[in-house]
Subunit: 274 residues, 2 copies
Amino acid sequence: MLGKGLSLNLATVREQWNLCKAVEACVRHGIRCVDPWRDQVAKVGLDAAARAIKDAGLAVSGYCRGGMFTAADAAGRQAAIDDNLRCIDEAVTIGAECVVYVVGGLPKGSRDIGAARQMVADGFAAILQHARACNMPLALEPLHPMYAGDRSVLSTLAQALDLSDTLGKGTGVAIDAYHVWWDPQLEAQIARAGKGGQILAYHVCDWLVPTTDLLLDRGMMGDGVIDLPRIRGWVEKAGYRGWTEVEIFSRDNWWKRSGDEVIRTCIERFQAAC
Amino acid sequence: MLGKGLSLNLATVREQWNLCKAVEACVRHGIRCVDPWRDQVAKVGLDAAARAIKDAGLAVSGYCRGGMFTAADAAGRQAAIDDNLRCIDEAVTIGAECVVYVVGGLPKGSRDIGAARQMVADGFAAILQHARACNMPLALEPLHPMYAGDRSVLSTLAQALDLSDTLGKGTGVAIDAYHVWWDPQLEAQIARAGKGGQILAYHVCDWLVPTTDLLLDRGMMGDGVIDLPRIRGWVEKAGYRGWTEVEIFSRDNWWKRSGDEVIRTCIERFQAAC
């Protein structure tokens, strides 16, 4: 088993249950850690969500998600920063080990990916002091390059580590196998992240062949082509001892099954295929 | 205008016309260069295809495509090598300036991307001598990482250049803006490719937001988010003076329009948005 064991990213059962029912289900199945999404928390209320998680005795491997720093104008970028400051406070209330970031894609009407990347760096710089004051680590998550247009101009682990190096203390990376498995530099960059003490989170699911939707066709571990045990080995070798978070967006498959079946399968596959 | 001007990759009108009719259409619209696909050539016959292109006075910026070196067993890999030797001969007959490679994804049942990448290197090594003897340059094309599972384990320009460096004389890269636009290293790697004299081809289309299909939803230049003029500038600065090839797979849009409209639009957008 990798590190502390399995954490369930609650997006995995978002279509089946609200946060409170998902937390109950985790307890029922012996899962000891979750990562809730902001909209799931908002739906039941921040305090109720925090209480449900705490009363259940669950750890919180991360809080999804901060980011979306890129905007067409300064007012939009400031609004994003303000929202990200609130997100950090929420993560503190929830008891999360870090906030996970989807940094934002190209602003509407823009083709300037360099400028968008600068907006992301500026956005992190603007929230860093507050995050440090709260002892809330910021986990920069490189997303698959197919999201560069609309979700994340942070596209590789090397780029995320470069940005974390620049930002310094209180920042690191979330490594999601789905986003980085194809990267020829992956082994080297994981080792680099380990040396820098920068691995804040490790996420898994699988890449299906064929993949029928860019966002909502992620696979259960073992059903796709990612060599998860190999990547786990690299992450372990780099010194990571935290949770392994399962996060599956699957509109036409897992989101249509019963939540209990999904969780049972996550647990089985975490043992057999990760 | 970049270099020699516009070349039409004939996949762009593959649903409208066979090769001979597409060549006639190019002449009608003043296009002076094409890149045919092997299946398009096979359909009308190699000699007929070569004659049609030659009689029309068209240049051939590339021949699509060699590759698919990855296979589950040695017999499959040898079959791929044999097929690639034939592909080089066809490219000579067609008068192509290079063969463009889609190297292959993970073999069926495999999750070992490192092994697949080695198969690709071995495959190129096995055909290199023949290619050199024929004076047929091999254009290694990195494909977008979303194709790593099923089409190409060559995923970044840096990786393609590393492989070309290893293989040496007679090899270079095809840079397709669609596949590499997201890469934080793009400017640096294009400059590196220029220094090495390794840019054999430059392809354009656009990345649509949203993209609804991983393979068949490429956009017309100007309809998406790629900063094509900026990338063109990098390619020019790197010393490339060849053709700019337009290659659009678009099942639900451009493949459904009249071929003449598609070509007219390619010409307009090549002037206005590239």
